[in-house]
Point group: C2
Chain length 200, copies 2
DNA sequence: ACCTGAACACCGTTCAAGT
DNA sequence: ACCTGAACACCGTTCAAGT
């Protein structure tokens, strides 16, 4: 809930300091940016994002002075959604199945969003917070999924969380286009299957 | 000597088919692109490159319809120069010293040229020939340097060429700015020192 | 045969005018 | 307090006119 791009949270003095229309615009902007980034990549025209949100370009620049501000915000959200998916999957599926499904969800995060990989090791200091957040937010969720699956006796007990966190992006590195993505999915599925115990 | 971007080497039927001014322009363009890329990165304005070469933009586009065509051509040249440097260093220095100096030259190639790293694993099919060329051209030269140094008894005999080829780009991955470059240099120097035999 | 550069389309960014 | 969008600067790309 910390105030996006602004370092001093001036708008935090009271909740009502944020005008209703400003909040609506902010939401529309984030929604639009997510859609446009997914469709056209993170270098999509700012005008297109503003139009998709039904907002003037000036408003976009007011909220996100730098393109990287918008990208970082969106990517944090994507990471959040992926992290939350772990909880949902946990509540809806048996432990091993929840783990398997989340691994595919993790593939989505890394390979569908063209911006993440680029931002993660672009070296541009503007993206510095992303890798940290990526690790901090995702690893704990995976650990829970893994612990549950191990506790249920469905999968092996000798798996390191770090290995899985690293393995997925590695397998997705070469994932170019539809075919590459499909291959990455198969590799991750194979890997996940390998986690299951041979002897129950 | 194969004709750059053009697949059919129409200009190869006779050497005289290339007009003298066209050749001069081509040379000027390559020279200018190398300078501008080094100074401003591979996304520098096309106009700036044309101006630096003292040529109209149309001429630039005639020779290199896509920006990637220009980048690939320049990068191949940079790789060539780096490969040739191995011969020169070999003839001017003792084997181990030649190897050590070339390793630093290799650092230059990977980290100074902002375009190479980006192009090497951008996934854009336009850059597809680069990684292959990179490997094919550099590895044999390094092998010779290494063999010479081993034969002279100055360094250990159990070093894999592949390991060194990979190690340098890896160490340069995190090299951002002056300070990062300096660190990468120290790491590579350290590594190179490690190659020397403890007992003569 | 090759070159030039004006011309067009498009994008980033700002800021005076509005509400 | 916030929003709009015309306006400006700049860049990619083409192509009619030149030599």
């Amino acid at each position: 809930m910390a105030g996006g791009a602004s370092r001093q949270g001036a708008e935090n003095r009271t909740s009502r300091a944020v005008r209703a229309d400003a909040q609506r615009n902010m939401d529309a902007l984030l929604q639009a940016a997510a859609t446009v980034f997914a469709a056209s990549g993170v270098n999509a025209p700012m005008r297109q994002i503003a139009a998709e949100a039904g907002v003037g370009v000036g408003t976009l620049y007011r909220h996100f002075p730098q393109r990287s501000d918008l990208i970082v915000t969106i990517m944090r959200r994507e990471i959040d959604v992926c992290a939350e998916a772990a909880r949902v999957l946990s509540s809806e599926h048996a432990p091993a199945e929840a783990l398997a499904r989340w691994m595919q969800r993790y593939v989505d995060l890394v390979s569908t969003k063209r911006g993440l990989a680029a931002a993660l090791h672009s070296g541009d200091p503007a993206y510095e917070p992303l890798p940290v957040y990526f690790e901090k937010r995702l690893k704990p969720e995976l650990r829970v999924l893994l612990d549950n699956a191990v506790a249920s006796g469905e999968i092996r007990a000798d798996i390191e969380v770090d290995d899985l966190v690293i393995a997925v992006p590695s397998l997705c590195m070469s994932a170019q286009g539809e075919e590459g993505l499909a291959r990455a999915r198969r590799m991750v599925a194979l890997l996940t299957d390998g986690l299951r115990r041979s002897a129950p």
